[in-house]
């Protein structure tokens, strides 16, 4: 009988698929072994659906911490900058497309990329666990399994006979004899194990394989590691790709604390136009005493600077205007002059729409706004004798997030009441830019105190020491 790859070599071959900077989930069985071939310098963040990001190998010796295990219940260690997260965050990462690659075991894989890995029909009951969420949510799904079952029958089939975990999601199959790409519902043989010919592999595979001329022998070489830093010394570079028409999630509740004033001022210099701002207010700090220290004859910079520069075409907010009608904000004036549009959203609905967006949920039913203008044009439904309206998820192209500290991996902690919308907006944008007081080395923040895991943070800018978030009140354009 021909020699097949060992489980270790299979895991090594799978590890070759990983690229620096990726977030990776490994399933039970052979996939777990892949972690042995990930080194610290590869900058891979391992995700475990029980709520871990950035974990490392099993601890040496007998030291065993019951509160630090992976989804298989195996004790692990945390790499510096690793963080424990909640179940909600763990699957939010999966569903929202932040999980780059997932390597799972399988009972069967079909020609079309269907995966069966949760139920042996003869057993009658099985455990989908996180597999269905992960198989659907991951950007790239790799199956790592033996090519045939215990009886030598093919596991790669025309159609799965077992219940499927996900349809058409598998893009690569790595077995103990071959590497096969799933492409347009066909299986393309890419590599063979040493000593195996394409014909021999076809013999133990049910569907017809596409066999290109250049089938390679399996290669265990890995790409050189280059991981770009998240830290931007120059704020202009951090904002350079903000485009006209971008949707920006802008942090803060309304006052001085928790607003990324430095990014705001820098965006005015950057000059992108036709922006949509998603924010609790549309700039009220300048026209109210909200969050203004009594000692200062100073007022906080707010959204008004972007309204006045004509960069904003639309605002989605819950508290858009000054509490006092006699002191209209720049936004209220622009609204009156029809220079901007407003979508008014109840505050809790705004937070939940962002949460849904962050976590890959399309929409949700809420009781808030029944019988008010908020329900116009929206689907409503009676659920368990209570009326609800359908609200859609909200996401941004960019998020500006004021936080207290970051580490080099982008893990964030906040101060006091300045967390509010910031931590949820950080999770709901394609590109999240954090403005922090200080950046520390990864490992310096207590993993249990980290609020926003670095997987959600793309760029970090330090607010300069000399930067003042204030302008003297008499210098404001107050007519």
């Amino acid at each position: 009988m021909k020699e097949r790859l060992t489980r270790e070599l299979m895991a090594l071959r799978a590890a070759c698929e990983l690229k620096s900077g990726q977030v990776v989930n490994l399933g039970f069985g052979i996939p777990t072994l892949v972690s042995n071939y990930i080194t610290d310098c590869m900058d891979i963040t391992l995700h475990s659906e029980n709520g871990l990001l950035g974990f490392g190998p099993e601890p040496d010796g007998e030291i065993f911490e019951a509160d630090l295990v992976n989804a298989a219940g195996v004790p692990v260690t945390l790499f510096p900058g690793g963080v424990a997260i909640s179940q909600i965050d763990a699957f939010g990462i999966v569903r929202s497309g932040k999980l780059d690659i997932s390597i799972l075991g399988a009972m069967q894989v079909s020609e079309a990329g269907d995966l069966s890995n949760w139920l042996l029909p003869s057993k009658g009951v099985g455990s989908p666990g996180g597999a269905i969420d992960i198989a659907h949510g991951t950007k790239k799904l790799v199956v790592l399994m033996e090519h045939t079952d215990n009886q030598g029958s093919p596991k790669i089939l025309k159609n799965c006979s077992y219940p499927v975990t996900a349809c058409g999601k598998v893009s690569l199959i790595i077995t103990d004899v071959a590497v096969i790409e799933v492409k347009d519902k066909r299986l393309v043989l890419r590599e063979t194990a040493p000593g195996w010919s394409p014909v021999e592999i076809q013999e133990i595979t049910e569907p017809q394989l596409v066999i290109p001329k250049n089938v390679l022998q399996m290669d265990f070489a890995r790409e050189p590691v280059v991981s770009p830093s998240k830290i931007f010394q120059n704020v202009d570079h951090a904002l350079s790709d903000i485009f006209d028409g971008a949707v920006i999630l802008m942090d803060g509740f309304g006052g001085l604390g928790g607003m990324s004033h430095f990014l705001m001022v820098s965006l005015r210099e950057q000059g992108a136009m036709d922006l949509t701002l998603v924010s609790n207010t549309a700039g009220i700090a300048r026209v109210s005493s909200f969050g203004r220290p009594p000692s200062s004859g100073l007022q906080a910079i707010d959204h008004s600077i972007l309204i006045e520069s004509g960069q904003v075409k639309r605002v989605i907010a819950s508290f858009p205007v000054s509490p006092s009608p006699s002191r209209p904000s720049a936004f209220e004036k622009a609204l009156r002059d029809r220079k901007v549009d407003l979508e008014l959203v109840p505050q809790g609905t705004l937070a939940e729409r962002l949460r849904a967006g962050a976590f890959g949920i399309g929409a949700f039913f809420t009781p808030t706004g029944i019988g008010t203008i908020v329900e116009y044009g929206k689907e409503s439904r009676i659920i368990e004798n209570k009326e609800f309206i359908l609200e859609k998820a909200l996401v941004g192209d960019f998020a500006f997030i004021r936080a207290h500290k970051s580490d080099t991996k982008g893990n964030l902690i906040y101060k006091g009441t300045s967390r509010n919308f910031n931590s949820i907006m950080a999770q709901a944008a394609t590109i999240t830019i954090a403005e922090v007081d200080e950046i520390v080395e990864s490992g310096e923040l207590d993993p249990d105190e980290i609020v926003t895991p670095g997987v959600f943070v793309d760029r970090i800018v330090v607010r300069p020491k000399h930067f003042s978030p204030f302008v003297p009140i008499n210098e404001l354009t107050d007519d």
Partner: protein
């Protein structure tokens, strides 16, 4: 003779009497904010603020307060033991999820069915919803604290709200500068009256018909 109405402080004091020890309470902007000054013993009520704060203490009383310690009205707070901070989505999970016992809000209008209008003056054309709509549907009990009439002496307790609604059928108790009124399925039930004010005096300043409670009595503090 012009009869005197209750002061804002007295109204807040009367609201405070409704709060049961250890309950979770959210206070809106305006008169409701004053309520925390009148709870029976300090920290006997757990106040929640929708900007992500639980179990806060008194307002800060110094010139250079912490900008990262404010309530949802933007007022600075003292740093006291036992507070916890959280995000807006969690703050509203508490509110919508039924974990807040009482929401005290101001109002522009309240209808006899308990509809609440408190977010927009139609003539302004724009207003702030803030957390009010979520609190209206989410809090177990909604208490409105407001003046009985507007600046032109028009009733704010109305048959049907003419201003845009914050919530339908959500107000349980209204405490004004003239009376304490419960919203019931039969209509507005007057429980207490301000000193020197008769039921008829209050009825004259109220649009819907008031029902006197069997134990109608002077205001109790």
């Amino acid at each position: 003779m012009i009869k005197s109405r209750l002061t804002r402080d007295i109204m807040a004091m009367r609201v405070a009497k409704e709060l049961v020890n250890k309950s979770y309470v959210n206070l809106g902007i305006g008169i409701p904010t004053l309520v925390s000054d009148f709870v029976s013993s300090p920290r006997s009520i757990i106040f929640q603020s929708e900007n992500g704060l639980l179990n806060y203490g008194p307002l800060a009383n110094h010139l250079n307060p912490d900008v990262d310690l404010v309530n949802a009205g933007g007022q600075f707070l003292e740093n006291v033991p036992g507070m916890s901070f959280f995000s807006s989505d969690e703050a509203f999970a508490m509110i919508r999820g039924g974990h807040i016992d009482v929401s005290v809000m101001g109002a522009m209008q309240v209808s006899e069915k308990g509809d609440l209008a408190n977010w927009m003056l139609p003539k302004r054309g724009v207003g702030n919803i803030g957390g009010a709509m979520d609190l209206a549907v989410g809090a177990k009990q909604v208490i409105v604290a407001m003046e009985h009439t507007d600046k032109e002496n028009n009733p704010k307790l109305v048959t049907t709200c003419s201003f845009p609604l914050t919530g339908k059928d959500c107000v349980h108790l209204v405490i004004t500068d003239l009376a304490v009124i419960e919203v019931t399925s039969r209509g507005l039930l007057v429980k207490e009256l301000a000193p020197d004010w008769t039921l008829q005096d209050v009825q004259d300043l109220t649009e819907p018909c008031l029902i006197p409670s069997a134990d109608l009595k002077p205001l109790e503090l």
